[in-house]
């Protein structure tokens, strides 16, 4: 047993401990904090699995923004803790535990018995990388080989926005999402919100740019930009835009829209829907990614802000 294995076992043990704590602790707020710590450590597991792209995504979206979302909800729902204590009976819990454990056991056995050598598409990805001019294999899969999934998933994000907005009351429709954040304009949060975003925006764009050849991409960069935007909103420096705004709507569909347009271009003038002509593959993919970066950042930010609550005037 070498030192790496010891480290991996320790990491897995801590992650599992946090998972158990997240499920078992009575207080919801503590469970949320436990889950955020869990998410960050899972990102480390992804690094150990040599999947740095996923590690970045997991840390940024799964642990980071997801954590903010859950924390915000936990804070707003803290008063209901006392009201909803009718838990299921012991028998129910016991049978749920036994059944969940058996499913986990079946999964564990299946994972351990997966065939050796494992099937893989990695050589195929390498062999076809030349068609896009990019060397990050994950970006190639996301943007070229499985472009349809990525485009549909952008539509999923848009539908999540429509779903969240549809929860507004009729009076607040068209207004600004979320509560208005008030903070001391000379306070430390406002200071941070003035200092950090310029650097954060550079980092976000860098992650997108480097995503062509190294780990990174539109998702990860978009998450960084979204967090910068949220920071500025929380510091009260800017307000969330009213959902009626045409510009906002345009930005929200820019990513999937451009993706779709390029895809249709391929259908009409190229070899197939979502096929990129080899000469222009890299610039086309990069411009789609730039549009997606904007869309993702805005979408993530708005998903965190929630449904429209205030009319646009105030």
């Amino acid at each position: 047993m070498n030192i790496a294995t010891v480290f991996e076992i320790a990491l897995a043990a801590v992650v599992l401990g946090l998972a158990i704590w997240t499920i078992a602790v009575p207080d919801t707020y503590s469970a949320t904090v436990g889950f955020i710590a869990y998410g960050l450590l899972v990102a480390l597991i992804w690094v150990r699995l040599d999947a740095v792209d996923v590690a970045l995504t997991e840390a940024a979206i799964g642990g980071g923004l997801g954590g903010v979302l859950l924390l915000g909800a936990a804070a707003r729902l803290r008063d209901t803790e006392a009201m909803t204590t009718e838990g299921p009976s012991l028998i129910v819990r016991l049978s749920a535990a036994i059944l969940s454990a058996s499913i986990a056991a079946a999964l564990a056995v299946t994972i351990l018995l997966l065939p050796d050598p494992a099937p893989t598409l990695a050589p195929a990805v390498v062999a076809n990388a030349g068609a896009t001019g990019m060397t990050n294999p994950v970006t190639n899969v996301l943007m070229a080989f499985r472009g349809m999934d990525t485009m549909l998933e952008k539509v999923v994000l848009l539908l999540a926005i429509v779903g969240v907005w549809s929860l507004a009351s009729d009076q607040a429709w068209g207004g600004r999402p979320g509560p208005r954040h008030q903070a001391d304009p000379n306070g430390v949060l406002a200071f941070l919100a003035r200092l950090l975003p310029p650097a954060g925006i550079v980092v976000g764009i860098y992650i997108l740019w480097t995503g062509a050849d190294h780990p990174g991409g539109a998702f990860q960069g978009g998450a960084v930009l979204a967090s910068m935007w949220l920071l500025v909103i929380m510091a009260g420096l800017v307000d969330t835009p009213p959902v009626r705004s045409r510009w906002l709507r345009l930005i929200l569909v820019a990513g999937p829209g451009l993706f779709l347009a390029v895809g249709l271009g391929g259908l009409c003038f190229g070899s197939a829907f979502l096929a990129y002509p080899v000469a222009f593959a890299k610039p086309l993919i990069l411009s789609i990614e730039v549009a997606m970066l904007l869309t993702i950042a805005t979408t993530l930010g708005l998903l965190l802000a929630g449904a429209p609550e205030r009319s646009a005037e105030r």
């Binding site: 129910v92 059944l99 299946t110 994972i111 598409l121 779903g163 009729d170 045409r246």
Partner: protein, 590 residues
């Protein structure tokens, strides 16, 4: 179904498949940008185009050997994603297009964007187009992960429809629906991960050539099947369906009930018949059909006890979903191998009939609700005179659904009954007949209230636009005449079966369910009938009184059981149990 060798080239006309996804998706994007004022115009432009595409696929398919293939980005699987259409896909594409079209006409007056209340129309039209795009993707995607994304797209479009009116009950229903559907999709995703680990591809055609009865495959199949069952709301995983379908606005209910549950059902059919043809085995298929039988019993009995018409229809959807699952064991031969495609044809045809008829019925009920201001069954007297077209649409939809010739349901039932005789599984023939009787029971129940004369004239509280009733009526008539269509070019159904639909024995086949259904309606419905004071009714009650009391007690027992099963934790435990039972029966069979 899928070609014997994986087709790795785009066929002529394959671009239609791309368009059938791209057009609704482009509609979603465009409607979102143009905003509240133009959202309905965008939808009314997209709907005819989509309808034309669906019918173009229908026309083109027989000419291109029954298959259309399109390689997205010209990347062949396993690296790329292929779109494939076969007869099943074409039929479902066309059904979806027709139902969406009718619902769009129905909703045009409901969801008219006004300056004050723009929220609901904005969300409704976008979500309608999104559901369409998601369903089309489900019907033609050739890759299990693309199917997952499409499934999530469908859920994300369906959930906000449930809570469109913003009342607390509907929000609660939407949240339950969302959480349970997410649980289902995670189970599906688990199976996908295992399949990729086993075979290094998620392409359906490639997988169908690589799978063998490995324990890992069977566990993946059990997990995916359970996840899809949760999304289809097969008993006992139906906790979310009744409140969600009954609480949504009528147009949304029609879509949810007619189409959305069919999406996950279709993936299940793909999984069992295409990805791993027959691999799950007869035992697991019997389990699915047994759950279907449970759904028929619980759904129908509880439906007959509902006071509100929308809840009645929602519970009847539950029963009809169960009916769809009866085809699984019938497709297996005595040797335990997948033999017959005729059962598959019957099941799919049933799904199509249910989609059209149930959408029509929900729309008719929506009109009645809008007209009367309520939908209590006991308050329906005289409504046939006040809203004749709505009641007519409901009646025709109901008649089509209960299997009167030449409806699609009767054709489907005929196909399935032949299969029960062929495979010697007589017990499913009983369930099939019982299902038909129960369907008749609640149609008869509602019609007997609606057709009863009223002592005081009905006051209509809302407008009853003609276009709404006509949309429902046309859809109901579609369902009624489905049996006459030339199915044999799309589904593996014998072409002469339709001709057997008429004749003397057809009449006798009709009489049995009608009489049985009427009896069930009298015995199981607790509501006082408007004719309850007539002498004939009293004489009847004297004869069947004790029996009826017993049946009512049985009914209330079933209702209480349903309430227990719809508790969150009970449903969750059922979910895990079903997945373990499926896995065990699959492992035992191989």
């Amino acid at each position: 179904m899928l070609p014997p060798a994986p087709a790795l080239v785009t066929t002529a006309g394959g671009f239609l498949l791309v368009l059938s996804i791209v057009v609704p998706v482009a509609g979603v994007l465009l409607a979102f940008v143009l905003g509240e004022r133009y959202v309905r115009q965008v939808a009314s432009t997209v709907v005819p185009v989509g309808l034309a595409i669906a019918f173009a696929v229908l026309v083109l398919l027989p000419r291109s050997d029954g298959h259309l293939v399109y390689l997205l980005g010209a990347w062949p699987p396993p690296l790329g994603v292929a779109l494939r259409a076969d007869g099943l896909s074409a039929v479902m594409l066309a059904t979806t297009a027709v139902v969406i079209c009718a619902v769009a006409i129905f909703a045009a007056t409901d969801f008219r964007p006004q300056s004050v209340e723009a929220r609901a129309p904005f969300a409704f039209w976008i979500l309608l187009l999104a559901i369409w795009g998601a369903l089309n993707t489900i019907f033609i995607a050739g890759d299990l992960f693309t199917l997952y994304v499409a499934l999530e797209l469908l859920t994300f479009a369906a959930v906000p429809l449930v809570s469109l009116d913003g009342r607390a009950e509907t929000l609660r229903a939407a949240l339950r629906y969302l959480l349970f559907a997410l649980l289902g999709s995670v189970l599906y995703l688990m199976g996908t991960a295992l399949l990729y680990g086993l075979y290094g591809t998620l392409d359906i055609a490639l997988l169908s050539h690589r799978v063998n009865a490995d324990s890992g495959v069977l566990i993946a199949a059990a997990l995916m099947t359970t996840g899809l069952l949760a999304k289809t709301a097969l008993f006992p995983l139906h906790l979310w369906l009744p409140p969600a379908h009954a609480g949504a606005p009528a147009a949304a209910s029609a879509i949810l009930s007619a189409l959305v549950v069919k999406g996950s059902f279709f993936i299940l059919v793909r999984l069992w018949f295409d990805v791993m043809p027959g691999l799950p085995g007869l035992a697991a298929a019997q389990l699915l059909a047994a759950l279907g039988a449970g759904a028929i019993l619980f759904g129908s009995v509880v439906a007959l006890r509902q006071e509100r018409l929308k809840l009645l229809i929602a519970y009847s959807t539950l029963a009809q979903i169960g009916y769809l699952f009866l085809m699984f064991p019938l497709a297996f031969g005595a040797s335990g191998k997948l033999e017959s495609d005729q059962a598959l044809a019957g099941g799919l045809l049933q799904a199509v009939s249910h989609a059209t008829a149930k959408a029509a019925m929900f729309m008719a009920v929506g009109s009645i609700y809008a007209g009367l201001g309520h939908d209590r069954i006991t308050g329906l007297c005289g409504v046939a005179r006040a809203l004749p077209l709505s009641v007519l649409a409901f009646a025709i939809g109901g008649i089509a659904l209960m299997g009167v010739q030449p409806s699609g349901a009767s054709f489907a039932k005929e196909l399935l009954l032949q299969e029960t005789a062929r495979t010697g599984q007589w017990w499913w023939a009983i369930v099939l007949q019982a299902g038909g009787m129960f369907t008749t029971a609640y149609v008869v129940l509602v019609l007997s209230h609606a057709l009863a004369p009223s002592d005081q004239p009905i006051v209509l509280v809302g407008p009853a636009p003609l276009s709404r009733d006509l949309a429902a009526l046309v859809l109901a008539l579609c369902s009624l005449f489905l049996g006459l269509l030339p199915w044999d070019s799309y589904l593996p159904a014998p072409s002469d079966a339709a001709s057997k639909l008429f004749g003397i024995d057809a009449l006798s086949k009709l009489l049995l369910p009608v009489l049985g259904g009427a009896a069930l309606a009298i015995l199981l419905s607790p509501w006082p009938h408007p004719l309850g004071s007539s002498a004939a009714w009293k004489a009847l009650m004297r004869v069947v009184g004790p029996l009826r009391r017993g049946c009512l007690r049985f009914g209330s027992l079933i209702e209480r059981g349903d309430e227990v099963l719809r508790q969150w934790s009970a449903a969750g435990i059922s979910l895990l149990l079903v997945s373990l039972l499926l896995a065990a029966s699959m492992l035992a069979a191989n």
